[in-house]
């Protein structure tokens, strides 16, 4: 899923300073699962903002909504009839959802209420970790199911670097060395022959480096 973290309330209040009526829009997709942008978070954030603004003697009217998904056009349309009745939309969906709202409702300012994180998994309640950078050219079959692009701080294809110490990464003793994980897994799978092969230079053109990406499935159009 796409993960995220709430923006500090002071930053949100600063963004909202010019406005006295807004829509606060959540999303029932990934951000609900990682508990940063669902209907519950919409309610809590709306109350927090109202209280803060009341305390400053500058009341704000907030319409609370939670869309099925902010990244699909059909779920945005229901907002169209009333969106321009408000001065701005504060969205707590991921960056994709917020941008899609901005594209569809061009006359209304869109404000981000969360910082979008990464493609990750739930380790346990309250802890998420990154697994995929969406580089567009998966090699997990060669690396024991562990991604060198994401799990190695240097995204190198022949690791580990000299900074791997007792299975931990040089950037943070709490972070496991991705290449140690890969090697452990290759050893367990008896696939170390994959390790000693020289890998070709990675083509980053299928990643973000090739510019904003598009997937076009002719079979579905």
């Amino acid at each position: 899923m796409i993960t995220g973290t709430p923006k500090p309330i002071d930053e949100i209040l600063e963004m909202l300073e010019p406005y006295d009526n807004i829509i606060l829009a959540g999303c029932f997709g990934c951000v609900t699962v990682c508990r940063v942008g669902g209907d519950k978070e919409v309610q809590i954030l709306a109350s927090t903002i109202r209280l803060a603004r009341e305390a400053r003697g500058k009341k704000i009217d907030i319409k609370e909504v939670c869309l099925e998904r902010q990244c699909d056009p059909e779920y945005l349309e229901p907002m169209r009839p009333y969106v321009e009745d408000y001065q701005a939309v504060l969205s707590i969906a991921c960056g994709a959802g917020i941008q899609f709202l901005a594209e569809k409702f061009t006359r209304t300012p869109l404000l981000p209420g969360i910082n979008t994180g990464f493609l990750g998994v739930t380790e346990r309640q309250g802890e998420w970790t990154e697994r995929c950078q969406g580089c567009g050219d998966c090699v997990l079959h060669l690396t024991g199911g562990i991604c060198p692009v994401t799990r190695c701080a240097k995204s190198i294809f022949h690791g580990p670097c000299g900074g791997s110490v007792q299975g931990k990464c040089e950037v943070d003793k709490e972070v496991q060395c991705g290449w140690q994980l890969i090697i452990d897994r290759l050893v367990a799978l008896d696939q170390m022959d994959n390790y000693v092969k020289l890998k070709p230079y990675k083509g980053w053109d299928s990643s973000r480096d090739g510019g904003p990406r598009r997937i076009l499935r002719e079979d579905m159009i």
Binding site: H158, P160, G162, S164, G167, V171, I183, V196, L198, Y201
Partner: protein, 309 residues
């Protein structure tokens, strides 16, 4: 000859090679490099110039190489893949070769987190092993990795670093083999203090015949004090200084600890010199270049041989 560098000639002639290193300054003052280069001159076959080590911004390695070369010592260009994509790497290789640099050390580079600018974007477009391969392709095939023909191939004696003590130990030698397969001509090791572990590493290296395919220069670093030894043990990844070495230094009074450190370093050089498969020594006298003559001379490695083209 692959590059015709002095280091390559010395090693190919069968001499025990000596290299050292100069870290460029945190500023634009060329005299800082020239002063260090004076301590190096005559004591080594080539001198590494580091590339923004520990991600701390310094004068560029190539500029440092030019200053070392001017002062009469053959430079060895360290190049990390942290800060340059493959376009910049190729371009800098061509430029360095055009300016007469003939030795190259291919490195990953410490993560930017450790330096002045932890918020910098890192590159790591290709890794250090792929940089070896890229350089060899340009040198030996006279083409860019893209396949286009070069107007003059760069000439480098291609090196890599290995850390015989890093984790996990069991892939240390397979990793060296990867570097040799990619095209490394020589290796400089991380500083060696744990000789027993290093011998085990060399046994496996020899078993695979790697010492015949690549020239291995054993890394040593003189310890200035027991405090420095303890600090390195604690802070530097993959450094293991055995207790008995620390104790030998700690047993000396403060003012004599540096001399003891040098004495131990000389012993270490003499010990690695006797090991089969070791072709030379890389003396990393960090901010202590003025002691190079004493150390290298003390190990009986002076004067340096002159091997004609």
């Amino acid at each position: 000859m692959k590059s015709g560098s002095n280091l390559e000639r010395v090693l190919e002639a069968g001499h025990f090679a000596v290299t050292a290193e100069c870290g460029p300054p945190r500023g634009a003052d060329p005299d800082k490099v020239l002063q260090k280069a004076q301590f190096v001159k005559g004591n080594v076959d080539a001198c590494n110039v580091t590339d923004n080590q520990t991600s701390v911004v310094r004068m560029s390695s190539l500029a440092g190489c030019m200053l070392v070369q001017q002062s009469g010592t053959e430079p060895l260009l360290q190049m990390v893949v942290r800060d340059r994509n493959r376009i910049a790497l190729q371009s800098d290789l061509l430029g360095a070769s055009a300016l007469g640099v003939r030795n190259l050390l291919c490195l990953s580079g410490d993560h930017q987190k450790f330096g002045d600018d932890p918020q910098a974007k890192n590159v790591f477009d290709i890794d250090s092993i792929q940089l070896i391969h890229l350089t060899k392709t340009m040198r030996d095939e006279g083409i860019f990795p893209s396949g286009d023909k070069l107007e003059g191939a760069p000439k480098f004696y291609i090196g890599c670093a290995v850390n015989p003590f890093a984790d996990p130990f069991e892939i240390r030698v397979p990793r060296l083999k990867l570097k040799v397969d990619a095209g490394a001509d020589f290796v400089q090791t991380q500083c060696i203090y744990n000789m027993d572990k290093f011998k085990r590493y060399m046994e496996e290296t020899k078993r695979q015949g790697l010492h015949e395919k690549v020239k291995i220069l054993a890394g040593v670093t003189p310890l200035k004090s027991a405090g420095m030894a303890k600090f390195m043990n604690r802070m530097v990844a993959g450094i293991e200084i055995p207790e008995d070495i620390i104790k030998r230094i700690a047993d000396e009074p403060k003012e004599k600890q540096a001399a003891k450190g040098i004495e131990i370093c000389i012993e270490q050089i003499q010990e690695v010199k006797e090991m089969e498969g070791i072709a030379g020594v890389h003396v990393m006298a960090i901010e202590w270049e003025e002691k190079l003559n004493e150390i290298i001379g003390g190990a009986g490695l002076l004067p340096r041989p002159v091997v004609e083209h």
